[in-house]
Symmetry: C2
Subunit: 449 residues, 2 copies
């Protein structure tokens, strides 16, 4: 286990309930900001107010606050006086403040904005103009930039002066007089360099960068692919506007992945902690797909109705219906899951579909044959050898068809600009049910009637 | 888009095929290592050999090599002479070299080991003794450490001397004479500090750390929770053994997530790029669960067989069977997906199950009622009002039961030390089919016969 502070964070709510503020100051000192943030949901409003307004001190209050989920930030703010509110928000990093203001109701945003210093207002307004989910919304506009013609000594002096401005001063950016990104240099290289060398002699100039309006997922891809710790963000003119760090990306990746999971479970992305999501919200996120699937399932029922006569003749056929169509659904769910994830990680590209289809045909034929041979015995036992044979042949056909469908649907969705993750297991299963029923009863009709 | 070098990497294979080595040296110079790595799979063996042995230069060859997937690393090594092999492996970072040696067949590992300098052999042997998937296997043993009693000036001199040793010199660790971790200090703080201050005055001593034998997933959790860029790794005696950086964690998180996706699609984790996985491997990863599910599906068939008399009396009942049982499966798949992901991200803890069960009961009752009322019309139209009513009641019951089951199974698996992600949509769907059939035909028998 990771070693943390002496007082276990779980006991904090009780300790805070004692309201022995002087003792608490000492107790809180060695506890990590993130661990304090974790217990905030359990505190009553009054104690939250005291914690953020008085107990933690300005800078620390802002740090703890920045680790709270956005809904909770809104609640904490409501517990504070206007003055304390402005102080807390004024102390936040710009990217955190922008994310907060974006989530608050408009009237709150305006109220808060008016209480902030004008310089902060301008920076925040600028950040809020970038499109949602864009890199501009994720980046922090605080960085340290030096000029290429400066000496290393001057650059280091500049870094020392700016030590409050940059979240990540480990990397120093090189910009020209117009603010256009020209390169970057590690603080370590500056430190190791000769004080009279020019910055441009040490800086790398072929720097990977990204545009403010790009999608945050693209920033995640670039950071992963190029294995960089910090990615400079530039506007259309090439001016350095901010930086994105690898820890920002961890959050983006987790959010995107959770969205993919929810879609693969045939839901709208819940976009909220499951712990805090209300029953009403969960209902709304789930009912849509269930209704769509019901429509598909009614088609299955109609498909069965087509074969009413066959069922009346050989009722035993119905016993194997769930087996055949479910196996198709399962194989299809496997191949769609493989494709959705491989497309999401970039392991597989859109142009690979034909080659993968060939492989899938081979794999699914082998799977279908294995299962078909396996169920032939069960079929023969419950319904006679003819039924056994019909079940085996249907199994092979349905598994191959379903796997092909499960593989191609994510590519097709991707091709039309939709999210491949919408090719959920339940969607595949339901669609495959329809053609599973048609194949099974058709085969049975031909072989048995 | 991220701006990259002038020559698009896609055209590299063609350029390398020209074998105009002198021109290629210039062309490759501005291209990122990762982009060169990306085209290696497309090169024939002879050109790979030339690329890694001659064209790239020692250090760059090792960097490009470290971005290749392990299977490909093995292939590239085979194309090289023994001497070139040893040179390449000797140039790798220790963590990359250990990962490679671990994957190679034993006789290759020994052969390669023998060719390395003794000091390297010792470090690599030590790394390879840590359990698989442990932090010890992930960490790099290269870091820069200073003593608490040193002056800032001396510490900075030490950093300058060590500038080849540390992958991440942005953070300097503080250890005592026994090598026990005492704290850490940013290179930036050292730089900003007075040269005659003591290191201990600047260093943070309440440092989050992790043990060498901990699981890599735990390291990911700690790095995310505490938002640190680098995590020191200590042994049982508290001695600093290595460091894990946030970009190592990105890879761990992606691998773990892909495993979860594959399990949720009812497969064994493929653990390999889908692009390179052979048809045989994919068959083996998929067939196991399909067979397990077939057994469950045969139970469904047997359940239907119990109601043979009812089906013979009212064939229309069968038309709604897929609808009712599939809706149950879909709702169950939704709730299991929500739980699996929430447990994986730590959003939900094992102890939350009872509270979440209450919420799930409310949500699923609302979902079941909505769907039940919706299908009552279709049921009445195809089979008369009695069938419609039976379908609606069954729908409500099956959706609620299935959602409860889908929600509880991940918690139950977790409780018994199994992976919650095994509660896959196909497994839920298949199990729910069995009790869906029983509920549906029982309700129908009571209401209709």
């Amino acid at each position: 286990m990771a070693e943390t502070a002496a007082t276990p964070p779980e006991s904090l709510p009780e300790l805070i309930a004692t309201r022995d503020w002087d003792a608490l100051r000492g107790i809180l000192a060695p506890i990590a900001d993130q661990d304090i943030a974790r217990v905030v949901p359990e505190l009553p409003s009054e104690e939250r107010e005291h914690l953020f307004a008085h107990l933690l001190g300005r800078e620390r209050a802002a740090n703890v606050f920045s680790y709270l989920p956005t809904e909770l930030q809104g609640q904490v703010l409501e517990a504070l006086t206007d003055e304390d509110k402005a102080r807390l928000v004024g102390e936040l990093h710009y990217d955190d403040a922008a994310a907060l203001l974006d989530e608050l109701p408009d009237e709150h945003t305006e109220l808060l904005m008016d209480m902030l210093p004008v310089a902060d207002q301008q920076v925040l307004q600028a950040l809020l103009t970038y499109p949602e989910d864009s890199v501009g919304r994720l980046m922090t506009p605080e960085f340290v930039a030096v000029r290429p013609e400066w000496t290393v000594g001057r650059a280091l002096d500049h870094v020392r002066e700016q030590h409050d401005a940059g979240e990540t001063v480990n990397t120093v950016f090189v910009t020209d007089e117009g603010g256009v990104l020209r390169g970057m240099v590690g603080l370590r290289e500056l430190l190791l360099g000769h004080p009279w060398s020019k910055v441009e002699e040490l800086a790398a100039d072929d720097v990977v960068r990204i545009g403010t309006d790009e999608d945050q997922e693209e920033a995640a891809r670039v950071i992963r692919h190029y294995d960089v710790e910090v990615l400079p963000v530039v506007d259309a003119e090439g001016m350095l506007r901010g930086i994105v760090t690898v820890d920002d990306i961890l959050d983006v990746v987790e959010e995107e992945t959770t969205e993919d999971f929810h879609k693969l479970g045939s839901m709208s992305a819940v976009g909220l902690s499951l712990n805090r999501a209300s029953a009403g919200l969960l209902y709304r996120k789930r009912i849509g797909w269930l209704i769509v699937l019901v429509v598909v399932n009614i088609l299955s029922g109609t498909a069965i109705a087509l074969f009413e006569a066959a069922i009346e003749t050989v009722v035993a056929l119905v016993f194997f219906l769930p087996l055949v169509i479910a196996s198709g659904g399962n194989a299809g769910a496997q191949s769609s899951t493989l494709m959705v994830r491989a497309l999401a990680t970039g392991d597989v590209q859109a142009r690979d579909w034909l080659r993968l289809l060939g492989k899938e045909a081979a794999v699914s034929a082998a799977l279908g044959a294995t299962l078909g041979i396996g169920v032939m015995g069960a079929g023969s036992w419950l319904g006679g050898p003819d039924v056994g044979f019909a079940v085996a042949i249907s199994m092979l056909l349905v598994v191959v068809l379903a796997s092909m469908f499960g593989m191609l649907l994510p590519f097709a969705l991707n091709r039309f600009g939709l999210d491949p993750a919408s090719a959920s297991a339940p969607l595949i299963t339901s669609v495959v049910d329809v053609f599973g029923i048609l194949v099974y009863f058709s085969v049975a009709t031909v072989l048995l009637l």
